[in-house]
C-alpha cells in the first residue's frame, strides 16, 4: 500500500518535473521566438550554417591580429631585431585581415539573402493566412493592424536579423576567446574587467526594464497611425463635406504625438547608453594601466618589461572582450523590439481557422441548385442575442427566393451563411443537398455567385474586375465578359467609356457611381456562371428601370440559376417563387407575394409603406 502510494507520489513528482521542463522549454522557445524562426526554409538554414562557419573562420582570423601585434611589439622592444622579421609578421597580419575581409563579404551577402528571404516568407505566410481565414476569425484584428503586421512588423524582424545574425555569433566567440587569452594574467586586471562588465549589464538591464514595454506600445500606435490615416482616406468625401479636416487632424495629431513621445522616451534612454558605455570602457583601460603601474612598481622579480607588455596586451584584449559583450547586449536591446513584432506576427499565424473545411467537391445528385436551411440559429461571436433563430426554408432549382425585412433583421446575415462567411451556431445549411460544411471551400464557392451589399471593386480595369476570381472552369472569354455585362445592364455605360472594358478602375471603384459599381459587381457574379446567385441588396443603387431590365435579363438568361435576393422593394419581388419575411431574426412569413399580402401582417405593412392600394393589386 505504502509502496504504491510512494510510487504514485514519485511519478506525480516526475510528471510535474517533466511539465516543468516542458514548460521551461516552451518558455525559452517563446522567448526566442523559435516558432517564428521555424519558418526559415531549408536553404535559409543551410545559409545560416554557412554564415556560422564563415563567421567562426573570420573571427579566428581577426583574433590573430592582436597576437601579431604582440609579436611586433616584442620585436620592437628587443634590440637588434631585423626589419625583415617585422615586415613578415606585418605581412602575415595583413593577409589575415584580407582573409577576414573576404569571409565578411561572403557572410554579409549570405545574411542579406537570408533576411530578405525570411521576411518574404513571413509576408507570404501572413498574407496567405489572412486570406485563408474567415471573417469571423479576422474580426479580432483591425484591418489596419493586419497591414502593419504584414509590412512594418516584418521589417522590424528583418532589421534584427541583419544585425543579430552577424553579431549573435560573432560576439560570444570574440568574448570567450579574449577572456581565455587573458585569463591567466594578473587577477587584479581580470577583476576590474569583470566589474566593468557587471556595471555594463546592470546599466543595460535597467534601461531595458523601462524600454521594453514601450516597444509594444509603439507597434500598437503604428496600428493606430494606419487606422486613422486609412479613415482619412476612406472617408475623404464625408470629411470634406463636414469640414471635419480639423477634427481628423486632431485625431491624427493625438496618435502622432503619442507615437512620437514613445519614440522620444525610448531613444533618450538609448542615448544614455552610448556615452555611459564609452565611459565604462575608457575607465577600464585607465584602471588596467593604473593597476599595471602599481603592479610594476611592486614587483620583485625583475620582469617589469614582461609585465609592461602584458599590460598593453591585456588592455587590448579586455577591450575586445567588453566590446563583444557590448555588441551582444546591443543585440539583446534590439531583440525585444523584434520580439514584439515577432509575437504580433505569430498572433496572426497562430489564429486557427474556425471554419473546418470539408472534403466534398460535388453536391448530391438530383439536388442541383437547391438551397435549404434547417432550423438554423446564429449568433455573432461574443454577441448575447441570436441574430437568426430557427430559420427553415427550401428552394427548388432555378427558383428565385427573396428575403425581406427591417434594417437589422438579419437578412444579410442569412445570406452570409450560404457561402460560409460564418458557420451556423446550430442547425444546417444545405447547398445542392449537402451541408455546406462538407464542401471544400473552393467547390462551394464555385457553385455561388455572390454580390455584396456595397460593391467591392479592385484597382485595375473593368474587364479584370468582371473576370475576377476562379470557378474551376475556363477563364471567362471576352465574349463571356461582354455577355455578363450585358445581363448586368452594364454594357451600355461601359461601351460609352473611351477605353471601354479597359477603362481604369480606381481602388474601391471610386471613379464610378454607386449604380455603376453595383452593376460591375453583378456582372462579376454572372461571369462565374454559378448555379446559385446571391444578391445581398445589390440593386439598391439602381434606378427602377435598370433594375427591372436587369431582373428580366436574369430571369431569361440565367434561368437555370437559383437566385437568392435580399430586397427592400416589394415591387421588385412580386413575381418571385418564394418570399421570406424576416423580423428580428425569425421567419415571420413565407410564401408568394399574393399569399403573404393576404395573410401576413408584417408583409402587408411593408407593402403598404411602399405602394398605394391600387398599385398593389
Amino acid at each position: 500500500m505504502n509502496i504504491i502510494k510512494m510510487d504514485v507520489l514519485t511519478t506525480g513528482l516526475i510528471i510535474t518535473d517533466e511539465n516543468l521542463i516542458i514548460g521551461t522549454v516552451q518558455k525559452v522557445g517563446r522567448l526566442f521566438m523559435l516558432k517564428l524562426f521555424r519558418n526559415l526554409t531549408k536553404r535559409d538554414k543551410f545559409f545560416m550554417f554557412l554564415v556560422l562557419t564563415f563567421i567562426i573562420g573570420q573571427v579566428w582570423l581577426e583574433l590573430q591580429l592582436p597576437a601579431y601585434m604582440q609579436s611586433i611589439t616584442i620585436l620592437i622592444q628587443t634590440p637588434g631585431s631585423e626589419l625583415n622579421n617585422i615586415l613578415s609578421v606585418g605581412g602575415l597580419m595583413l593577409s589575415a585581415a584580407l582573409g577576414s575581409l573576404v569571409l565578411s563579404i561572403i557572410v554579409a551577402v549570405l545574411i542579406a539573402n537570408i533576411s530578405a528571404n525570411f521576411s518574404a516568407t513571413l509576408r507570404d505566410l501572413l498574407f496567405n493566412k489572412v486570406i485563408s481565414l474567415s471573417m469571423e476569425d479576422i474580426g479580432g484584428f483591425s484591418k489596419a493592424s493586419l497591414i502593419t503586421r504584414s509590412t512594418n512588423d516584418v521589417t522590424q524582424i528583418q532589421v534584427f536579423l541583419v544585425m543579430g545574425l552577424q553579431m549573435l555569433v560573432r560576439a560570444p566567440i570574440m568574448a570567450i576567446w579574449a577572456v581565455i587569452r587573458i585569463s591567466n594574467t594578473q587577477w587584479a586586471w581580470t577583476f576590474s574587467t569583470i566589474v566593468a562588465a557587471l556595471i555594463l549589464f546592470a546599466l543595460i538591464g535597467v534601461s531595458m526594464y523601462f524600454v521594453i514595454p514601450k516597444f509594444k506600445l509603439r507597434q500598437k500606435l503604428t496600428d493606430r497611425l494606419n487606422l486613422v490615416t486609412r479613415e482619412n482616406l476612406t472617408g475623404i468625401e464625408v470629411i470634406r463635406a463636414y469640414n471635419a479636416e480639423d477634427y481628423q487632424t486632431n485625431k491624427f495629431k493625438e496618435v502622432n504625438d503619442d507615437f512620437t513621445d514613445t519614440n522620444i522616451f525610448v531613444n533618450k534612454i538609448m542615448a544614455v547608453m552610448q556615452p555611459s558605455i564609452s565611459i565604462i570602457m575608457n575607465a577600464l583601460t585607465l584602471s588596467i594601466y593604473w593597476i599595471g603601474a602599481i603592479l610594476i612598481q611592486n614587483t620583485m622579480s625583475g620582469n617589469e618589461v614582461v609585465l609592461f607588455s602584458e599590460m598593453v596586451v591585456f588592455s587590448n584584449y579586455a577591450m575586445q572582450a567588453i566590446m563583444s559583450l557590448l555588441i551582444l547586449v546591443i543585440v539583446f536591446a534590439v531583440f525585444p523590439q523584434a520580439k514584439v513584432s515577432g509575437d504580433r506576427i505569430m498572433e496572426v499565424l497562430d489564429t486557427e481557422s474556425s471554419i473546418i473545411k470539408g472534403k466534398e467537391t460535388k453536391g448530391k445528385a438530383n439536388h442541383s441548385g437547391e438551397i435549404e436551411f434547417r432550423n438554423v440559429d446564429f449568433y455573432y461571436p461574443g454577441a448575447e442575442e441570436k441574430t437568426l433563430e430557427n430559420i427553415s426554408f427550401k428552394t427548388r432549382p432555378g427558383d428565385t427566393v427573396a428575403v425581406i425585412g427591417a434594417t437589422g433583421s438579419g437578412k444579410s446575415t442569412l445570406v452570409n451563411l450560404i457561402p460560409r462567411f460564418y458557420d451556423v451556431s446550430s442547425g444546417e445549411v444545405l447547398v445542392n443537398g449537402q451541408n455546406v460544411k462538407e464542401y471544400t471551400e473552393k467547390a462551394l464557392n464555385n457553385l455561388i455567385g455572390f454580390v455584396t451589399q456595397s460593391a467591392i471593386l479592385f484597382s485595375g480595369d473593368i474587364e479584370e474586375n468582371i473576370a475576377y476570381g476562379d470557378n474551376d472552369q475556363s477563364t471567362p472569354t471576352k465574349e463571356d465578359i461582354r455577355r455578363a455585362a450585358e445581363i448586368a445592364q452594364a454594357s451600355e455605360f461601359i461601351e460609352k467609356l473611351e477605353k471601354g472594358y479597359h477603362s481604369h478602375v480606381a481602388q474601391g471603384g471610386s471613379n464610378f457611381s454607386g449604380g455603376q459599381k453595383q452593376r460591375i459587381s453583378i456582372a462579376r457574379a454572372i461571369a462565374r456562371k454559378p448555379e446559385i446567385l446571391i444578391f445581398d441588396d445589390s440593386f439598391s443603387a439602381l434606378d427602377f428601370k435598370t433594375d427591372r431590365k436587369l431582373r428580366m435579363a436574369l430571369q431569361n438568361e440565367m434561368a437555370n440559376a437559383t437566385k437568392v435576393i435580399v430586397a427592400q422593394r416589394v415591387g421588385t419581388i412580386k413575381e418571385v417563387d418564394q418570399i421570406i419575411v424576416l423580423e428580428n431574426g425569425r421567419v415571420a412569413g413565407k410564401g408568394t407575394h399574393k399569399e403573404l399580402l393576404k395573410s401576413n401582417k408584417i408583409y402587408q405593412e411593408i407593402a403598404h409603406s411602399q405602394l398605394s392600394e391600387e398599385e398593389l393589386a
Partner: protein, 593 residues
C-alpha cells in the same frame, strides 16, 4: 489587381533627396548647431584621453628600470577621468537634443502627410492605393526616423572624432598620420562607389514596399469578394510577384550596402598594420618613443573605428533617402487652389441655388459627363434629381460641393458664385448624406456628433430616435459609448441611419441626400421620412433617390440623361408629359414578364 505604377520622375540621386531632407529640417538649425558643438566637444575630450594615456605609459615605461612616479600617475589618471566624464556628459546632451530633433522631424513629416491628404484634389486618390499612402505614413517615415536617429548622431560624432583624432595624430607624428589618412581615403572612396550603385535598389525597395502594402490593404479590404470568388489563387500570385520583387530589391540593397562595413573594417586593420610597421621602424630608428607608438595605435583605432560607423550610417541614410523621396513626392503633389485670399462669404444663408450652363468632365481629354446643366432652386425648395444610373446625378452633387471643379458655367448660392467663397464656407452650407456610408472607429456618440460643437445628449438622442436608431443603440452593451470597431457588425441600413442622424445633428442651412436611405427598409424609411421632412422644412434640399415614392412631393424634379436635363417639373407635370419620367415611374410597378 496591381495598382498602376506611378510614372513620377524618380531621381535616384542620394544627394538630392538629402538636400531636401536638410531643407526640411532647417527650422531646427539652432538645436542642430548646439548638438554638433556638444558632439564635437565631447569627442575632442574623448580623443584627448589616449594622449594622456600615452603620458601614463611613458611615465610607467620611464620608471621600469628605476621607480615609477606614482604621484604623476595618479594626477594623470584623475585628469583622464575628468576628460572622459565631461566628454560623456556632452555626448549625452548631444544625444538628447538629437533625439528631440529627429523625432520632431518625423512627427511633422507624418503630420504634413496627413494634412496633405486634406489639400489634395479628389482625382489624386483615383491613381493611388490606400495602402501605398499608408506605407508613406508608417513605413517610409519610420525608415527616415530610424536613419536620422542612428546615423545623424553617428555621423556627427564620427566626423568630430575623426577630425579630433586627426589633429592629435598630426601633433604626434606627421608620417604616421599620413599613413592612416592614405588608408582611410581608400575606404571613403569605396563607400562613395557602393552608394552610387546601390541607391536605386533602396528606392526600388521602398516603392515595392509601398506597392505591396497597397495590395495587402486592398485584398484585406475586399476579403469577402476575394474569398467567395475563389480569387485567392489570383491575389496570391500577384502578391507573390510583388513579394519577390521586394525580396529582390531588399536583397540587392542590403547586400551591396553591407559590403561597406567589412571593407571599412579591413581598412581599419590595414591602417593598423601600416602604422604598426612604420611605428616599429621609427622606434627602431629611435625617431619616436614607444609611448608614441602605443598612443598612435589607439589613435588609428579611434580614427578608423568611425569609418565602419560611417559605413553603417551611409547605409541607413540611403534607405532614408529612398523613403524621403516617396514622402516628399507626395508632399510636392499639386494641391487644390489656395483659397486664403477669398473674402466673400455666405453668412445668412437663404438657400437660393442656381446652376447655369455647367459643363464638366473628369479629365481634360475625357468627354464631358455634364454637358449643359442649368437649374434653379428657390429657398426652401426640395429639388429631386432622377435618371438612370450613371446619368450624372452624383456628379452634380460633387460639383455643388466643389469636390471637383466645373469646366464651364457657374454654380451660385444666394447670388454668389461658389468659386468666390472658400470650400470651407461652401461646405458649411450643406448637410450631406452619401450613398457610401462612412463609419469610423470610435463610439456611437463620436460617430453621431462627429465635429459638431456643443451638442447635448438630448439633441443627440433625439436625432437618433428620429432615424429609428435609438432602440438598436440601447441594445448595445454600452449604449452610445459602445466602440464601433470591426467587432461590432452594423448592417448597411443601420449605417445609413447613423449617417442621417449625423447630418441632422450637423444642422446646416441646406441639405443633400444622395441615396441616403437606399439600404433602409421601407417601413423604417417611413419613420425616418418624418424626421427628414422636419429636417427639410425651410431648407433647400437636393435629393437623389431611386425610390420615386420618396421624391413625389418634390417641388421640382430634374430628370437627367447622359449629363443633360431632359425633363423638369413637378411629379404631376411630369406624369402628364408622358415622357421619360412616367416611364421610369411606372417601371417600378411593372411585373417581370
Amino acid at each position: 489587381m496591381r495598382p498602376s505604377q506611378k510614372s513620377t520622375k524618380t531621381s535616384e540621386n542620394f544627394f538630392d533627396n538629402w538636400k531636401r531632407m536638410i531643407q526640411y529640417s532647417q527650422r531646427y538649425w539652432k538645436g542642430l548647431l548646439l548638438a554638433i558643438l556638444f558632439a564635437a566637444g565631447g569627442n575632442i575630450l574623448t580623443v584627448l584621453g589616449p594622449d594622456r594615456l600615452a603620458d601614463m605609459t611613458d611615465t610607467i615605461s620611464a620608471g621600469l628600470k628605476t621607480s615609477i612616479d606614482m604621484t604623476a600617475i595618479r594626477n594623470i589618471a584623475f585628469s583622464i577621468l575628468f576628460l572622459y566624464g565631461f566628454g560623456g556628459l556632452l555626448n549625452l546632451l548631444q544625444g538628447w537634443i538629437m533625439v528631440n530633433i529627429t523625432q520632431n522631424i518625423t512627427r511633422s513629416l507624418r503630420a504634413d502627410i496627413a494634412n496633405k491628404i486634406n489639400r489634395l484634389p479628389m482625382a489624386y486618390f483615383s491613381n493611388t492605393t490606400v495602402g501605398d499612402t499608408l506605407s508613406r505614413v508608417t513605413n517610409d517615415v519610420d525608415t527616415i526616423g530610424r536613419a536620422l536617429n542612428m546615423s545623424v548622431q553617428n555621423l556627427i560624432s564620427s566626423g568630430t572624432m575623426m577630425l579630433g583624432t586627426l589633429i592629435m595624430m598630426l601633433l604626434t607624428n606627421v608620417w604616421l598620420t599620413l599613413t592612416a589618412i592614405g588608408a582611410t581615403a581608400i575606404g571613403l572612396i569605396s563607400i562613395g562607389i557602393i552608394t552610387r550603385f546601390s541607391q536605386k535598389y533602396f528606392v526600388q525597395q521602398q516603392n515595392h514596399l509601398g506597392a505591396i502594402n497597397g495590395q495587402i490593404e486592398e485584398t484585406f479590404s475586399g476579403h469577402t469578394v476575394v474569398k467567395v470568388y475563389n480569387g485567392e489563387e489570383m491575389v496570391r500570385k500577384e502578391f507573390t510577384d510583388m513579394n519577390n520583387q521586394l525580396k529582390e530589391s531588399g536583397f540587392k540593397s542590403q547586400a551591396l550596402s553591407s559590403l561597406m562595413s567589412p571593407i571599412m573594417t579591413f581598412i581599419g586593420n590595414f591602417g593598423y598594420v601600416a602604422v604598426a610597421v612604420l611605428g616599429a621602424l621609427l622606434t627602431m630608428n629611435g625617431t619616436v618613443s614607444f609611448g608614441v607608438v602605443v598612443a598612435f595605435i589607439m589613435y588609428v583605432r579611434l580614427f578608423t573605428q568611425p569609418l565602419s560607423q560611417i559605413a553603417q550610417s551611409v547605409q541607413s541614410l540611403q534607405s532614408a533617402a529612398a523613403a524621403g523621396e516617396r514622402v516628399f513626392s507626395m508632399l510636392d503633389a499639386e494641391e487644390m487652389a489656395d483659397e486664403s485670399a477669398k473674402t466673400e462669404e455666405i453668412i445668412d444663408t437663404k438657400g437660393y441655388v442656381e446652376f447655369s450652363n455647367v459643363q464638366f468632365s473628369y479629365g481634360k481629354d475625357e468627354p464631358p459627363v455634364i454637358k449643359d446643366f442649368s437649374a434653379v432652386a428657390n429657398p426652401g425648395q426640395k429639388i429631386a434629381i432622377v435618371g438612370h444610373t450613371g446619368a450624372g446625378k452624383t456628379t452634380i452633387v460633387n460639383l455643388l460641393m466643389r469636390f471637383y471643379e466645373i469646366n464651364r458655367g457657374e454654380i451660385s448660392i444666394d447670388g454668389l458664385s461658389t468659386q468666390e467663397i472658400t470650400k470651407e464656407n461652401l461646405h458649411d452650407q450643406f448637410c450631406m448624406v452619401l450613398q457610401d456610408t462612412w463609419v469610423f472607429e470610435g463610439t456611437v456618440r463620436e460617430n453621431l456628433i462627429y465635429n459638431a460643437q456643443n451638442i447635448s445628449d438630448k439633441e443627440m438622442i433625439e436625432a437618433s430616435k428620429a432615424v429609428g436608431l435609438d432602440f438598436f443603440v440601447r441594445t448595445l452593451s454600452k449604449g452610445y459609448d459602445t466602440l464601433l470597431d470591426e467587432k461590432v457588425s452594423l448592417s448597411q441600413g443601420q449605417k445609413q441611419q447613423l449617417t442621417i442622424a449625423r447630418a441632422i445633428i450637423a444642422n446646416r442651412p441646406m441639405l443633400i441626400l444622395d441615396e441616403a436611405t437606399s439600404s433602409v427598409d421601407t417601413r423604417t424609411e417611413l419613420k425616418i421620412q418624418e424626421a427628414m421632412d422636419a429636417l427639410m422644412e425651410g431648407r433647400t434640399t437636393f435629393v437623389i433617390a431611386h425610390r420615386l415614392s420618396t421624391i413625389k412631393n418634390a417641388d421640382t424634379i430634374l430628370v437627367m440623361d447622359n449629363g443633360d436635363i431632359i425633363e423638369k417639373g413637378s411629379h404631376e407635370d411630369l406624369m402628364a408629359q408622358n415622357g421619360f419620367y412616367k416611364d421610369l415611374y411606372n417601371s417600378q410597378f411593372d411585373n417581370v414578364s
